[in-house]
């Protein structure tokens, strides 16, 4: 599994993403600066990490969504490559149009930072095969703008097509339909607010996130 992590000015989960990918794949992820024009050939999975790219100026993810590397990211998506956007990475993926909808200010207006229970709604994706549908897992959240919004038609399509792999149990931010994460139509692009890379069995917050990386490894090994 050949992986890459995009680094923006203000990213702060890029090293966590790097550690999680390294731990599961046994291969060193490529760290790609956002001003680069290319993602290395043969990359299977690109992580768009959390943080506060460009200081969240204007809107979360707005500037990063227009960074030079984004054309290469879109080309990777067009090739059917996997992309995992976490937190600010999810916000960036919606800003680029790779995922529908938008992330708004939390309904409470408060930053939320805690362990969060999620329910796996669809274990039949390349990101979730290591879990069972209906399984509850505990993953940390830490965000101010995680309130997922999309029009009713989009929400209905996401639900009908199994494109909501994770929902919150106890909605922390006001997200429509308790959405914690969504996938693209081809299932290869996942954006989510919770941080699976912060739950990989170290000291940091449980190990329920490692299943996501194991699922990817499995999906990429089967396809290889």
């Amino acid at each position: 599994m050949k992986s890459a992590v995009i680094v923006f000015p203000g990213s702060n989960c890029d090293r966590d993403a790097q550690m999680a990918l390294r731990k599961v794949s046994g291969q060193e992820p490529e760290m790609v600066w956002h001003k680069d024009a290319n993602i290395p050939n043969g990359t299977d999975i690109v992580m768009v990490p959390g943080g506060f790219s460009y200081g969240d100026h204007l809107r979360c993810g707005a500037m990063a969504g227009n960074s030079p590397i984004i054309d290469a990211l879109k080309a990777h998506a067009d090739r059917g490559g996997y992309i995992l956007g976490v937190c600010n990475g999810f916000q960036i993926l919606t800003e680029t149009g790779l995922l529908p909808g938008a992330l708004m200010r939390n309904a409470s207006l408060h930053f939320v930072c805690k362990q969060q229970t999620l329910r796996v709604e669809n274990a039949n994706t390349g990101f979730t095969s290591a879990y069972k549908s209906g399984q509850e897992i505990s993953i940390p959240v830490a965000h101010h703008d995680g309130n997922y919004f999309a029009d009713e038609k989009t929400l209905d399509t996401l639900e009908a097509d199994g494109r909501i792999p994770f929902k919150y149990v106890g909605n922390p931010n006001g997200s429509a339909k308790d959405i914690a994460g969504i996938t693209s139509a081809n299932g290869r692009v996942l954006g989510m607010m919770p941080h699976p890379e912060r739950a990989i069995g170290g000291h940091e917050g449980g190990s329920d996130g490692i299943g996501m990386f194991e699922s990817l490894l499995q999906a990429l090994t089967v396809n290889a």
Binding site: A62, A102, R105
Partner: protein, 80 residues
């Protein structure tokens, strides 16, 4: 030439900031206040000599591509 862009949440999109401001105003005794919406104003200095219609088209393009997120926001352009 200057352009002023007003960006605000579309009608129907919940505005938690506006609601909090409204609640606080009413607690402060401004009982005449109904719904409050919070937006932002972006001022752009444009090069002189642009045709207003051309300038407006360019600023509209900027709004669509960066200044507003049209999934949740609407915008109005004012040239001065």
């Amino acid at each position: 030439m200057k352009a002023r862009v007003h960006v605000s949440l579309k009608p129907g999109v919940l505005d938690p900031q506006g609601k909090t401001v409204g609640d606080t105003l009413s607690r402060m005794g401004f009982s005449e206040v109904g719904e409050v919406r919070v937006g932002k104003v972006i001022e752009l200095e444009l090069e002189d000599g642009l045709e207003p219609s051309a300038a407006e088209a360019r600023v509209k393009d900027m709004c669509e591509k960066l200044l507003a997120n049209t999934v949740i926001e609407k915008y109005e352009i004012e040239l001065a």
